[in-house]
Subunit: 392 residues, 2 copies
DNA sequence: GCGGTTTGTTGTTCCGGGCAACGTATTGTT
DNA sequence: AACAATACGTTGCCCGGAACAACAAACCGC
């Protein structure tokens, strides 16, 4: 029930819209921006002048000439001079990267993650990777903040990791801990991996331009990043999208969350390994090994892939009925599983889903590859900049 | 990726915010509006002048005096002069009402609905009820449109009822059919009952001010109206919230949708009657009879209530994990069931739900009573007015 | 080089909200 | 009853932001 935006907010929003446009779509001419944003030439000129003045974009005469008329200046994001730090905390590894405006990964480090590491021990590792990358940062650059993707439930207000069963974290304040290791001016944002990947794919990946998307991310556990009506679904505390703990089988096996028959006990990495009669080993390699065996004709592995693929389609069917998305993206090990069992997934999905909801659903794999989590984490940090470009 | 609002849109939004405020919170003084909307006194003055000029609000010197200073003019919505038509199509009855700005039901009619009535036969009945109410409409009134609440899946773009299993409708263009019966200028909006009730409870009922809410509506079938991040979750085609067809029991009984073990086969009206060993009779009375019998000590009825209540808590637990809402509202026969089996619901919810998601969930019953669907349907029609008050 | 075309630039206009000064209606005090 | 105090409506002015139009600049083809 708030009033509409004031006039200065118009400027903020227009600056943000322009910067976001070149951030997402890459360098483009002022003429293109004029038609894309629906603003006047002179307004675009004034906005780019402000942004260039703040060091966020640069203008240049285009190399490629050929059309009639005066060539339009090309506005490009200052990818090298404006960046965010991005971190990803996964079950068995840590990633750190410097990501430039425009979503380009400028530098990166990867560490294996020993089991049982709490936040107080993890933050120094991340900060260390950052310090390692620091010397390569050219002078005069702008850092807009840091984003962390965590495989667990993250409280939106303060970035506390409430629960991350497969890393063993309970109430770990990773955001605050890392912030203490960094400059006081560097804001730190934390979110769930699935949410972050969904965000990235929605901004510049497979889901670009789609307003209702479910990004399913699987490793040991399963979570979803959900875009509903063009906006991220966070829920009240930030724990939305915990679809891995949707109970699909009341007689199923115990889940680490304490319940029984959660979806992730049927489609998580361990489920596939168990069905294939293999030891419970974490990591994508073990999953790929089963799929590989199935490809080579191993009957037990084939049955396991079919069974787990069936459960995958089952849960997706439920989600499709609840959300009526236009796209479902399978990320993490769900990608491999979906590709190996697409027939089962589709078939079960078709039997569970309502025909109206199935009508426009596309099943896809991510486009951003292994960088999705890092790009998405950086996107979290960039969000502040895009909301108010001149405040930095 | 659109640009921010232009200056004229500021005016529209401020007019809408002011009108919405008095529409939702009732008549209030210009001074209160000034602080509520955060606008200047002079701006509020100009806005109310525009709205009063358009006949949407009226100003009056307040009756109640007592505080020092010049008394502030009271702005009240022109409830009698500005109205919408509201309709509700339920399994066994039809409702029609004239609802004034501010959400007051000015007049209403109720018809029982014979089974097997298609849209082409229903629309004349609704239009007839409207014509019956027409003579009581004072001259010079403004009608902003008509809203219809339907117990079925509604395509957002054109209001086509894709599927309503329990009324037997398939691809019935109720919106277009009713529009043809009315003035050409009266826009008709159609939506699902649960969505509409959620909208109403969110605007002025139990969920006022809550941004993440699930409104569960049950009769023969079960659907949910979902508010996520303060906005209605519609999904891509408008079919979002079909939680009744979330499969919770793979070995369950056949559902009318063609699948097996849908949630509504476990908690719908027939489920309770079947568990209680009674004939499948539609309508709230049959449900209340079972609950009444359970209250009076009928062991079989008690077991039925417990069993269905357990399934109710089970599904709500799943939804709580997926959406992390701050409130779940039980409407329709779900209200009676929840009140009768609150212990089972809570207990199963606690065992299925993740503790972080359970933390701030409140379980509630609706505040708007039997008028919820009509008020919500009217709200759909008012939405256009509130988006651009002077365009009418 | 010249007209045609497209775009950047500049000065002007328009619109909407904030602000301050003033007028007005009520309460409380002497 | 007269006065101050209080709170509000009203009016005129200012400022910021975008649209618009006129002009200048840079490209094309001939």
């Amino acid at each position: 029930m708030r009033a509409g935006p004031s006039q200065e907010e118009i400027r903020r929003q227009n600056l943000g819209a322009l910067l976001r446009h070149v951030h997402v779509h890459g360098a483009m001419s002022r003429a293109e921006l004029t038609s894309a944003l629906g603003l006047n030439r002179s307004t675009i000129g004034a906005l780019t002048a402000d942004l260039a003045n703040a060091g966020l974009v640069s203008e240049a005469t285009p190399k490629q000439r050929g059309r009639a008329g005066r060539p339009s200046l090309v506005v490009r994001p200052e990818s090298a001079r404006v960046h965010a730090w991005a971190f990803s905390i996964e079950v068995d590894r840590l990633q750190a990267a410097r990501v430039g405006l425009g979503g380009v990964v400028l530098d990166r480090r990867e560490l294996s993650r020993p089991r049982g590491l709490v936040a107080a021990e993890t933050a120094p590792l991340l900060a260390g990777a950052l310090k390692e990358m620091q010397p390569a940062v050219p002078p005069g650059t702008i850092c807009v903040g840091a984003g962390i993707a965590v495989c667990g439930m993250v409280r939106r207000d303060d970035g506390l990791v409430r629960l991350s069963p497969h890393t063993g974290w309970v109430n770990e304040p990773i955001g605050a801990t890392l912030a203490a290791e960094l400059d006081a001016e560097t804001p730190v944002v934390v979110a769930n991996v699935a949410d972050v990947c969904a965000f990235a794919e929605h901004a510049r990946g497979a889901a670009a331009g789609r307003d209702n998307v479910i990004y399913l991310y699987g490793d040991v556990g399963v979570g979803a990043g959900i875009i509903a009506g063009g906006r991220r679904l966070t829920g009240h505390g930030g724990y939305g999208g915990e679809v891995g703990h949707m109970v699909v089988n009341r007689n199923g096996s115990r889940c680490e969350c304490g319940s029984r028959g959660c979806w992730e006990t049927e489609i998580g990495e361990y489920a596939l390994l168990h069905a294939a009669g293999r030891p419970a080993a974490s990591g994508r390699e073990a999953v790929l090994a089963v799929i590989d065996a199935a490809d080579r004709g191993d009957a037990r592995a084939q049955a396991a892939v079919r069974q787990v693929g069936d459960w995958l389609g089952f849960g997706v069917g439920n989600l499709v009925n609840i959300f009526n998305p236009e796209m479902v993206i399978f990320g993490g090990t769900m990608r491999d599983l979906y590709l190996a069992a697409a027939a089962q997934v589709r078939s079960r999905l078709n039997s569970v889903g309502l025909s109206a909801c199935l009508e426009h659903v596309r099943l896809r794999t991510p486009q951003l590859g292994r960088d999705a989590a890092l790009v998405g984490a950086a996107e979290l940090a960039f969000e502040r900049l895009l909301a108010d470009p001149l405040e930095v």
